[in-house]
Symmetry: C2
Subunit: 351 residues, 2 copies
Amino acid sequence: MRRIVILVEAAFTLHRAKTATGIIRYSKDKVVAVIDSTHAGKNVAQALNIALGEDIPMVRDINEALQYEPDALMIGIAPVGGTLPPSWRWQLTTAIEHGLDIISGLHTFISDDEELRTAAEQKGVTIWDVRRPQGQPRVAKFAPHRPGSHTVLMVGSDCSAGKMTVALELERVAAQRGLNGSFLATGQTGIMISNNGLPIDHLISDFVAGMVEEQVLQLAEEHDWVFVEGQGALNHPGYSPVTLGLIHGSAPDAMIFCHLAGAKTIDGYENCPLPSLQRLISINEDAIDWIRQDGKCKVVGLALVTVGMNDEEAQAAIKAAEEETGLPTTDVIRFGAEKLMDALQQHFSAH
Amino acid sequence: MRRIVILVEAAFTLHRAKTATGIIRYSKDKVVAVIDSTHAGKNVAQALNIALGEDIPMVRDINEALQYEPDALMIGIAPVGGTLPPSWRWQLTTAIEHGLDIISGLHTFISDDEELRTAAEQKGVTIWDVRRPQGQPRVAKFAPHRPGSHTVLMVGSDCSAGKMTVALELERVAAQRGLNGSFLATGQTGIMISNNGLPIDHLISDFVAGMVEEQVLQLAEEHDWVFVEGQGALNHPGYSPVTLGLIHGSAPDAMIFCHLAGAKTIDGYENCPLPSLQRLISINEDAIDWIRQDGKCKVVGLALVTVGMNDEEAQAAIKAAEEETGLPTTDVIRFGAEKLMDALQQHFSAH
């Protein structure tokens, strides 16, 4: 178990902090402090105005964080474009000087930065660039999964719609029910949490589907349930290729659709309105049928993110989505993932 | 104008030689010989049993090719996985020793090979890895094209369905008609031909759509017609993410659908049958509507590859496709691209 300090300087809003909150919620490592000078003096729950179950201090900078005796500094935001903000460099240098390992999910690899790499080598600390792909490039073979295994892919209406969280909560419920389940991380936070997975958004486009397929085939060999973290959305103008690679590469047997309640457009693309939930669900189901043509893979449940609502509002949003789509719906953070796991088990026992 | 020898050792079938035939047909460079020991002594037209308009000798190896005084050796196949066949290494070494530049479209970069790079540096020759991306990573902005410009994307039922050829032939017809057209290469052969473009299948998946968008926005600023080379197919189990990145990134105003007449499955995936032409066309039109939702971008014509058929058979295949889809259809190699350019001009004058 590592003792981690997470660096999110001036970016610790609930929306942008999804790496940090994911690590705090799901990692086996202990988060000892979070660096954001604009929130210094608060704790994490106060800064985000959500319950996180632990009293983690927010601090001004790496120097203040050192009193909590961290052994790793994790970069906790994923900016568009994915480069290291120049103003953060001194904090990484200071961390390395004090013997902390560096964990980064940025597109730009910290270990390719000569100054930081040299400093890390001299100090004997490790730089883990989570997005650096492991494994060999591989084109998808369109190979069948082990019969009897169930691969469940999270899809959704946009990025940051809860796809990783839903997959992790489903894995948890499956374990509670004594099922042999597994989680396949496909993004930097999921990989940091599970210490494994595939940085799908950093793969070469020709090999996205093939490298996902390889991981899923192996997990489906060893597990009865494979919960695949989704990425992006088919209706996202920038990230749709990543999503389609996941759909075709993982070749799911069922999907859970994830959605931020109330969202009207793709985040950051005000000129790109979201289609209706019904339409979004059929888009995702249709995309699998482009290659498999058996009409078997369905969205069997919806997961809403209802953060910022009270319980009554959340229940109303869930009820509205159920009426619109006819599918079991919940918010897994608020109400757990049991309802979705029920839907999945019923779906597979009926088919 | 370079004098090029193309290396395709033991792979010079019509199907696998698409880089070589593309270069021979469309490049401003002169192909002086093609290396394939299994065809040595023939010329290219005899080896492929097609008319290529020039008498290009097939030779045993690089040593035999040197008599034709080439100044560059081009690797003329694109194997799955994209690495240099080990048995070809000596031919590259020999070429470099004799002062030839190296042009390669492989996924594995020749200039990353220490032995070959060192040899090239010592000899002062250039290694051009066509698939090494130029330009900065960039996420798509979903920005509109210049009003009045027409972006036309080639899509299709599979790889090797003529998408590059159709784009190049449309550019040629547009020029003949005095229109201000341009060709955007998106694959290694197209880039070798036009000395420009984007190796889309080698881009990082997060940036595929964005980097295509950047190129198209710029071309649409300067040209009235932008003919975008397509890649792969939405119904291809391995390469579909590349195709969707092209569709969403280029945000076409119209599409031409390309198809190998008579093909029943994805090439190399006998368990992946092709949907009907009607269904394939609607899949591609629908994918744009996921983000644009205006229903405006249509497939306005079909281009068949009818190689191996006689003219009568080709005409029958074209007629059958026209009856099935209701769209103007031709084989651009056999009958020219005028019919498709007519369809495009009519489409845009009517809308």
